[in-house]
Amino acid sequence: MAAKINIFDPPSSASSESDDGIDVGAEYLEILPDAEIDGDKHGSQKSPKCRRQRTTSLSHQSANKATTESVIRTTHRTIYTAGRPPWYNSEGQKVEPFVIGICGGSASGKTTVAEKIIESLGVTWVTLLSMDSFYRVLNQKQHEESHRNEYNFDHPDAFDFEILIETLKKLKEGRKVDVPIYNFVTHSRESRTKTMYGANVIIFEGILAFYNKEVREMLDMKIFVDTDADVRLARRLRRDISQRGRDLEGVLKQYTSMVQPSFNHYIAPLMVHADIIVPRGGENLVAIQLIVQHVHTQLQLRGLKIREELAQAHAFSGQPLPDTVKLLPTTPQIRGLHTFIRNKATTRDEFIFYSKRLIRLVIEYTLSLMKFNETIVETPQGVLYKGKRMATDKICGVSILRAGETMEQAVCDVCKDIRIGKILIQTNLQTGEPELYYLRLPKDIKDYKVILMDATVATGAAALMAIRVLLDHDVQERNILIVSLLMAESGVHSIAYAFPNVQIVTTAIDPEINEKFYVLPGIGNFGDRYFGTEYS
């Protein structure tokens, strides 16, 4: 299947850089495996300050070829096949990502092996985490030592295992993490961090990857790259002298006094923990093929079919609606508006106009569900007035693209200066599964009440994925409101069952879903009708 062989730039998949500003870096755009981005092949690796930044996920090479292959063009539509399939089951509970650990001496070819694995794995949403990110910040004295090539970067004490374990643990739980960016010139952490989220496979590599017991226990597969000491020294000389402008004497001094003893003392003994030892590093294609096969088997065992399961699981009607469902009172206006937007004969101009009115009403209604405090204000008439004020101003909107985007304007119209995040989820037409393509959320979203918007909810598959993404970003479940114009009864039950504290707001609930997962009687494909992209 095409989806399997396509790789696109992963920063995409998983990571982006964020400065300390309001928003995450523009790099996230690459998650769209669209041909238009191929001018930008460097993915998230464009930090000019960093000499050595390997916390990214894929090699440049594989990024290049990916862009075109992940797109299938048919006569009618363009299909993208590189989104992230569900990483949780139909109850919204998560399945852990597969973590591969790669250990080996300095310049043994760990990164090459990692890149080769990613390339042949053909799975998108792979995160490459390098131990280099977790070097300790050096004090003045150590800084001077490092200048004289006397600081031992190959010793376990040079690493901050505490942060490393915490990061790896969170990644394994599927949560969003901020990975430090280590600056090899100043030997300190940069104020920026790199955001990683949403990997199905995590590759963790480093010279002492197997040193810590807690770290070892988190690895599902342990690979030791065993390269001849002479080859490693030769590579190291070439790298340090030609790429890092160091002198021969210094490199040799460092090698004999620290790198070599550390390898013998700390790194080589770690080989006993390995599941597989790869001699000669990245050239060893047979070993890499074996590893890839094993990972594929493991991933398939964890594979999930969400959508069908959802449609069947709660397809029975007649159950009372959950308490978390807030249905707008069905006034004549609401029914009148539905009559317009549901009618297939309605022109697009009218469809947009009446949709907007309905959206405005549902958003106003959503705001009335927030918490309010009593307050007393002075009036120009000189009397006091007992009123209410919203208890929080931390509200943000998140739209599920594409149809949810149509609701953004209404949120901006009722909440001044509200922040809007976006999540692109599209159905893979081959598997029928929802896939996550793109994600951009306000910083500190965990402290916000989130109005999650999608125009229609049928099976609830996309909504579940979006809620899962928010939870992975540490948003509280009770702070999420999923808002839509129309929901199918089964979708409502699926969401309420998986996430009992999420509030569900809608203007109408329809009883059925057809085999194409459209709601009945429904609206049709809301996004296509609104944006005029339907085909006949």
């Binding site: 004549p332 206006q333 009618n343 204000v377 120009p380 009123g387 004020r389 009722v414």
Partner: protein, 221 residues
């Protein structure tokens, strides 16, 4: 939430019981906040306009609920049938200058090409006597349902004069719906007694009317 409001203002419920043609916008914390912001003397002008427009939109949407409709069935793109409804045509808006004009945009946002007439009423500062000095309506207004827009009612004199003008033009009293944001108990009594068949929709009945509305909305204070 709603029960809180009932406790605070039993006044409004009593009026609704007494006058069947009087309706209040469904009260919730959100509408209460909008009213609070409009009442607060420290609200900036830009905020005032922003939140006034929101409240107006809600009142207009609710007013449209009072218009007559018939049932109808439509076919959805999935081929299924939806039991919907259709509003009867032959409606129009009439705004009372000047503050009523603040509500025109809200009406336009809901009904794009609706006809809108205007009435200018001058009132005497001392005696509160009101006098119509200008009125311009669609030609066939006698056959239409009229959404009369005026946000603040303190004595009800201005609205009374406007309703009289409409009736002179042949509009039936039961075809007039008054859209209003804030009104005083006195105004409710005056209007409901004088025009028992007229429908009123408001968001709040309170002894003190926020008379600064027009000035603050249009920025002439």
């Amino acid at each position: 939430m709603t029960s809180d409001n009932v406790k605070v203002e039993p006044l409004e419920n009593n009026y609704c019981k007494e006058y069947k043609r009087l309706r209040l916008l469904q009260a919730n914390d959100q509408t209460k906040e909008l009213q609070t912001i409009l009442r607060d003397k420290n609200t900036t002008r830009s905020d005032f306009k922003f939140y006034a427009d929101r409240l107006i939109r809600l009142v207009i949407e609710e007013s449209l609920n009072q218009l007559p409709f018939t049932d109808c069935k439509v076919i959805t793109p999935t081929g299924a049938t939806y039991d919907g409804l259709k509003y009867k045509s032959g409606n129009c808006g009439v705004s009372i200058i000047r503050s009523g004009e603040a509500m025109e945009q809200g009406l336009r946002d809901c009904c794009r090409s609706i006809r809108i007439g205007k009435i200018l009423v001058e009132s005497d500062f001392e005696t509160h006597d009101a006098r119509v000095v200008y009125a311009r309506f669609p030609e066939d207004i006698a056959q239409r349902n009229v959404l009369l827009m005026y946000p603040i009612m303190s004595t009800g004199n201005t609205v009374s004069q406007s309703v009289n003008v409409l009736k002179e033009h042949g509009v039936k009293e039961e075809c007039i719906i008054l859209s209003n944001l804030f009104c005083t108990p006195a105004a409710v009594e005056t209007i409901c007694t004088s025009y028992p068949k007229l429908q009123i929709l408001t968001s709040e009945i309170h002894p003190v009317a926020p008379n600064h509305f027009g000035q603050k909305y249009f920025g002439t204070d």
